[in-house]
Amino acid sequence: MSMNTQGRPTAPDLKVANVNDLPETVLGHKGLVFEEKLLFEQSSPGTCGVDLPLAPMVKSRLHVLKARESIGLPELAEPQVIRHYTRLSQKNYAIDTGLYPLGSCTMKHNPRLNEKMTRLAGLADLHPLQPASTTQGALQLIHELADWLMKLTGMPAVAMSPAAGAHGEYCGMLAIKAAIADKGEAKTRTKVIVPESAHGTNPATAASLGFTVVPVKAEADGRVRAEAVKAVLGPDVAAIMLTNPNTCGLFERDIIDIAMAVRAAGAYFYCDGANFNAIVGRVRPADLGVDCMHINLHKTFSTPHGGGGPGAGPVVLSERLAPYAPVPFVVKTGETLRLIEQTTEKEAAKSIGRLKGFHGQMGMFIRALTYCLSHGADGLWQASGDAVLNANYIASQLKTIMSQPYAGYCMHEALFDDTFLKDTGVTTLDFAKAMIDEGYHPMTMYFPLVVHGAFLIEPTESESKQAIDDFIKVMISLAKRARAGEADHFAAAPRFTPRARLDETRAARQPVLRWQASTLSKSGG
């Protein structure tokens, strides 16, 4: 999930607030908190962190081409590189270091067993273009994960190759486009209904495929009504893209009616499954009438976020979309598994084609299957229950001190708006920065856009009661301080981080996207 802090760029006051802010130490290090220069600034030409076997003497066959020009890469030995990235890592907040309540992102525990399994010989060293006879275990693994995903969603097919949620959206919407074309409606069905609360990838995907986005509003309870959908449905509508549970953390109560109406109108129901973690093992999207849904394995199925990726976004498909699944896919006949890689093969006659090189994010499949096997159906039931329990526990205790746009139980995330900050001079952004000082990664803020100054808090099932109680304590304390008129406290936050607030306006106005030997940028300390 993404947050549009960019939507409200911060341009902090650049005057040094306090003469005491002059460097307190010679190099800027402070105890265990180190200043770290760019790697390029640490180069010692002539050193190298990799030794290689001697190259055999041969006659070059690099005909034609000119020689490689100087590249400009820095030169360091291994100890320096290890120290550099170790130090950098320590400047990150992470699930492993603290509660990470980033709504819509499902920052749950990433088990180390997953990592270990991914590195097994026979998996890590498998080339994607080996003959299938030598990769039966890998194909079986994909097949097993596909089986889990189909059973958990109740859907009859799944496209495994999409690389992330947005790529899954692209895949699913293409399948819909193909199905429509198949019915000869390509020219007419050009619209896609997208609720205003949707994640940015939904309209972006629809638009990239040439669809016109038709917004639909939610009601006062944060949910889309079947009536509202019906009002915009028509023969020109290709699909609806609906997130469920939605980006406000609420279950769409009318979802079955919406699905029926969409189907009745000859359109398709794309469900954004980013929030599947709330219901996995408890509600099967097939039972809600969806036609396709992407699953972010990097959310619900615990594959690591890795500072931004990689992910994987398999898309489950209904009977009517299944024929359009992209290549490649795995087919099992008896005990033998095959990869269908070409649309020329009969099993793929109606396939939309290929979306990605090779066969999908195998490393994520390994992790996700490990996660499924570890949990079992019963463990997943428990996990989604705990995720929802935790969010409601937080909501129940913060709702009196913060302000809730929508009443009632939430799903896996608790949403607040900034009404409680009215006239305090404290913004959601300020509040978030003060949370950082208190040792917390902020929740998702200013998303969904439909809620003013949104605070979207997703604790996930991985947090203990004690950890959540501590978090609640801090949130209450901050809310009280804000209301007590301590706006300065918030404006100056964060104070305890390796960097104070960063000038995002400057970054965007005078973009510096790379280091240059002649760069004017002054070094850290």
């Binding site: 990235y85 990150n92 992470a94 890590a124 060293d125 690389a163 205790q397 790379r514």
Partner: protein, 444 residues
């Protein structure tokens, strides 16, 4: 369940606070017909680490990994040696379990790394700017095609016959379902292609791969000039980044956009993914780039720091007007790439490239000595031999002996009957004399 930190007592006490009778009550909004009353049937129950490991190891043992075989496989994914330090560092929880760096004050680690990544990618490709990664090389190519259309306001792209079969398929898919068009030049096994004649006023871009899918090396300067003359962009694909340690950069030959598969540095073969897409271009097209960008700035105390920037190109801000729908990218693979390249440095990369070339030349020489015909004039670490009989069948047969002899061209270009006898062979620094000897023995 070992990952779930609540005891039943915890749950009871939390429910009491909420005022709900049981967890299921919290799911009151779920329509009854869809609300399961217990765990889904037909799926296994929770298992211990011991059991899960046994299951996964059993699956792994049904594969023949390249390290348990003689392998000359390439074709867009290369078996290189990844220094132990790389895998250690990328598993540090602070990197592994953090999200996209949206809160820069507590994400300087990821941000500074991305800035270093972008710089390295720019340097390698010879371009002015690079983004913070795409899913992989193939999807980066698709994004490049879209970007070329945006930049030029045209919609036709010419795709070289030397481009990887999968990449061509993806571009064709994209063209099929959007207003973009592709002109797929015939498969170019023999390196005879000349695309200049095809470029016209509707051409958004010409997309070529170097080295080509068959291993041929090209000087693209002429093509670049031809593109420029017609206002089209030259997009260069690199599927083997190690080659950039030895070959003139695409930028130096006049490329407008360079996309590359970064797997070769830092990332295991892993049956095809996750990999990391590199995307670089000219500064003037910066605002048309897809994906995230990390930029330098200062903090409130004037200290240098890094942030995600120019997000007004992106879906979370621009929604339907975004340059791409990409959100999650390939962060951790980009980290692995960056660390591996940091360890190598300028000379290390050049040496590695030279070693790869030398191993490939050795292999080619041995095969030629065994009577095979190498069709390439020049190559980097991958070349093509004509077996005089269908390659796929032979490859399948050799696999039984744990010899992965190469990629049959027919695997990537099944529609091109004329390449049926061609075998694409890649060597890397991991290729041994014994490997080469065995390959020559079974192919002669």
């Amino acid at each position: 369940m070992r990952y779930l930190p609540h005891s039943d007592a915890d749950r009871a006490s939390m429910l009491a606070t909420i005022g709900a009778a049981e967890v299921d009550s919290l799911f009151a909004d779920v329509p009854d017909s869809a609300h399961l009353k217990g765990p889904i049937e037909g799926l296994p129950r929770m298992q211990s680490e011991i059991e899960v490991e046994r299951h996964m190891s059993a699956l792994a043992s049904r594969n023949t990994g390249t390290s348990a075989a003689v392998s000359f496989l390439g074709g867009g994914a290369y078996r290189h040696h990844v220094p132990a330090a790389v895998d250690h560092l990328i598993q540090r929880g602070e990197f592994l379990t953090s999200y996209t760096p949206y809160q820069p004050e507590i994400s300087q680690g990821t941000l500074q790394m991305l800035f270093e990544f972008q710089t390295m990618v720019s340097m390698l490709t010879g371009m002015e700017v690079a983004n913070a990664s795409m899913y992989d090389g193939s999807t980066a190519a698709a994004e490049a095609m879209s970007m070329a259309c945006r930049v030029t306001g045209r919609n036709k792209s010419i795709i070289s016959g030397g481009v990887h079969g999968h990449y061509r398929d993806i571009l064709a898919t994209q063209a099929k379902w959007t207003t973009q068009e592709v002109l797929l030049a015939p498969v170019d096994a023999q390196d005879t292609e000349d695309l200049t004649a095809l470029i016209d006023a509707n051409t958004a871009c010409v997309m070529v791969q170097n080295p080509s899918s068959f291993g041929h090396l090209r000087d693209l300067s002429k093509l670049a000039e031809a593109c420029q003359a017609k206002g089209a962009l030259l997009v260069v694909i690199v599927t083997e980044v190690v080659s950039l340690g030895l070959l003139a950069s695409p930028g130096s030959m006049g490329a407008d956009i360079v996309v590359a598969e970064g797997q070769s540095l830092g990332n295991p073969l892993g049956f095809g993914g996750p990999y990391v897409g590199l995307f670089a271009t000219r500064e003037k097209y910066m605002r048309q780039m897809p994906g995230r960008l990390c930029g330098e700035t200062v903090d409130a105390n004037g200290k240098r720091g890094f942030v995600l920037t120019l997000s007004t190109r992106e879906q979370h801000i621009r929604r339907e007007k975004a340059t791409s729908n990409i959100c999650t990218n390939a962060g951790l693979c980009a980290l692995a790439f960056t660390i591996h390249l940091s360890l190598l440095g300028e000379q290390g990369l050049k040496k590695l490239a030279l070693l790869n070339h030398a191993k490939a030349v050795q292999t080619a020489e041995k095969l030629e000595a065994a009577g095979l015909r190498v069709i390439n004039t020049g190559f980097f670490n991958e070349f093509t031999v004509d077996l005089g009989k269908p390659a796929a069948a032979l490859v399948d047969k050799l696999a039984e002996k744990k010899i992965l002899a190469g990629v049959p061209a027919s695997r990537l270009y099944p529609e091109a009957k004329e390449v049926e006898n061609l075998l694409i062979i890649a060597a890397t620094e991991l290729t041994t004399d014994a490997d080469i000897y065995q390959l020559a023995e079974v192919l002669k």
